[in-house]
Amino acid sequence: MAGPAGTLDPDLAPIVVDARMLVGAGTGPREPNLPLVRAAMATALFRQLVTTGHLGDPVADAVEALASDDRSAELVAFASGLGPEERRVLADQVANDAATMASRWPKIPPGWLPRTADRLTVPLAGGRVVLAGVADLVLGAPPVDRASVCLVEIRSAAPTEAHRRARTYLGLLETLRSGAPPCRVATYYSQTGVLDIEELPDEELGRLVGDVLTSIAQRCRSLTEQAA
């Protein structure tokens, strides 16, 4: 790790590695689009459902939740600019997501310590590199002597291999953060209600560590070449 990252200027902004970068889906902010807005709204509703156990007007609740977060300003602005037909499509999709969620997720017992939008940031190489991710739902207390937490990601698109890698990456972040791997990682698909669950064998985590290091090295080379 100290190799490629050691060439970076420590005063510059760190290289942030997230799941998108790992699956080759680019870096930096994304241009708002309809699927992105839908995903954000589904995540907001999922959060509300886990927290309060019920959903009201899904579109209104989701828009209110997004509008309360400065970081979602672009998405909210994009949604506000949609035409009537696009709005109707989005509203139908969000209503479907909400109905599916409500039917699939019972009220989670508070004793399971459910927490949502749990940010994970792991600085490496003196902070020059930061591994970052957000678990949409974490269940269970931090590990005492063995894996004890479950991580859930929510997706509004159809399942892909990238989703599996993304949740494995979250598992890696949790391992680095808490000292033990999660006992399960899962992806919940809001469109269908399918919950894709798996355990994380050590070998898989090990492979992912190699991929992360390769990704960081590539990014370091790219930045070094740009600087030259």
Binding site: P123, A141, P143
Partner: protein
């Protein structure tokens, strides 16, 4: 920054953090030194404020973190306009929720967060909140926003509740509580605000006692949970709590240590409170005040020490390396002990 002292795989993390909080305290700085430090700080602060007028200047961890950032002339007006968001409310509500859990009033963080929000809204409805307060905002916030506040606070409270083995912590312990202020009254007034999540008693107390104990010379450990990850400026942010404490009561017991806990990355910074931490934090606070005043001549600013304050107190001057950029200084950072991965 010294290397990690706890291996990343050491479990449970809460045990290591609790050990750090409750470890026997190092000898406190000599009372004379603390008194000198306080006098010098007041003197330098008064000198910094001389010739300035305007609204009160408030210095808190955020001010220290952002001092040395973009010059004020390039900041946008909205940068200084505060408005509530769920993210900004998460700490206040989350700590209140954690206090309810640790105090045995609720069983888990989610219940604590929900109750904390309900209490805030009730206070607002009874007219017990001032306009612009968190309660006033929550009272008028839509259901979707209130749900996000509860969700954010639940996450914060869960991190705080699970960070420490509370059953090992004796009494008195204070989770949450009001912010502590120290003011230098003048024109304008300067206020230093410290905010810690938990105050634990260490030292000569019997930790097994569950009875409240008179303070005496018992000393306190402060625990503060922070978002993100540690930075070189974190040291001054954490040290502010200790500085405010000694400024408020220069002849009182000096806090034993300040522990910063970053749940997002599972790391902790343990700082023993001594001369070095207090002086470097005071320098950072002065730099933050100057930054707020728009004074950009920190390095050139002569800072006189009153006679007899000693060389240690003199290090509060603007000539302290890194004092101009408390958010990026590194010299003090190296003396902190990092725990966690």
């Amino acid at each position: 920054m010294t290397p990690t002292t706890l291996p990343a795989t050491l479990l449970p993390r809460a045990r290591g953090l609790t050990d750090a909080l409750l470890a026997p305290a190092a000898p406190p700085p000599p009372p004379g030194l603390v008194g000198d430090l306080c006098r010098t700080f007041r003197h330098n602060l008064a000198e910094t404020m001389a010739g300035h007028d305007g609204p009160p200047v408030r210095v808190d961890a955020f001010t220290i973190r952002t001092a040395g950032g973009p010059p004020r002339r390039t900041r946008q007006p909205e940068d200084d306009e505060f408005h509530w968001t769920p993210r900004r409310a998460r700490r206040a509500v989350g700590v209140s929720a954690a206090a309810k859990v640790v105090g045995g009033r609720v069983r888990c963080p989610a219940q604590g967060a929900e109750r904390a929000v309900v209490e805030l809204i009730d206070d607002a409805r009874r007219g017990a909140c001032r306009p612009g307060s968190l309660g006033a905002w929550l009272e008028t916030a839509p259901a979707g926003v209130v749900a996000v506040v509860v969700a954010e606070a639940t996450a914060w409270a869960t991190h705080l509740v699970t960070a420490v083995e509370w059953h090992r912590v004796g009494r008195p312990v204070e989770v949450g509580g009001t912010d502590r202020w120290w003011d230098l009254v003048g024109r304008p007034t300067v206020g230093l605000r410290s905010r810690v999540d938990a105050r634990l008693t260490v030292g000569p107390l019997d930790r097994a006692s569950t009875e409240p104990v008179a303070t005496g010379q018992a000393r306190q450990s402060f625990l503060t949970a922070l978002g993100g990850r540690p930075t070189p400026g974190s040291r001054a942010e954490l040290g502010l709590a200790a500085l405010v404490e000694v400024l408020r009561r220069p002849s009182g017991p000096v806090p034993a240590r300040v522990v910063g806990w970053w749940p997002e990355c599972g790391r902790a910074l343990v700082l023993d409170v001594g001369e070095e931490l207090l002086t470097s934090t005071a320098s950072a606070a002065l730099a933050a005040v100057r930054d707020r005043l728009g004074c950009r001549k920190l390095h050139a600013l002569p800072v006189a020490c009153p006679p007899g304050t000693g060389s240690g107190a003199g290090t509060l001057s603007g000539a302290v390396p890194g004092a101009s950029s408390p958010g990026t200084g590194t010299e003090g950072w190296q003396s902190g002990r990092m725990r966690g991965s």
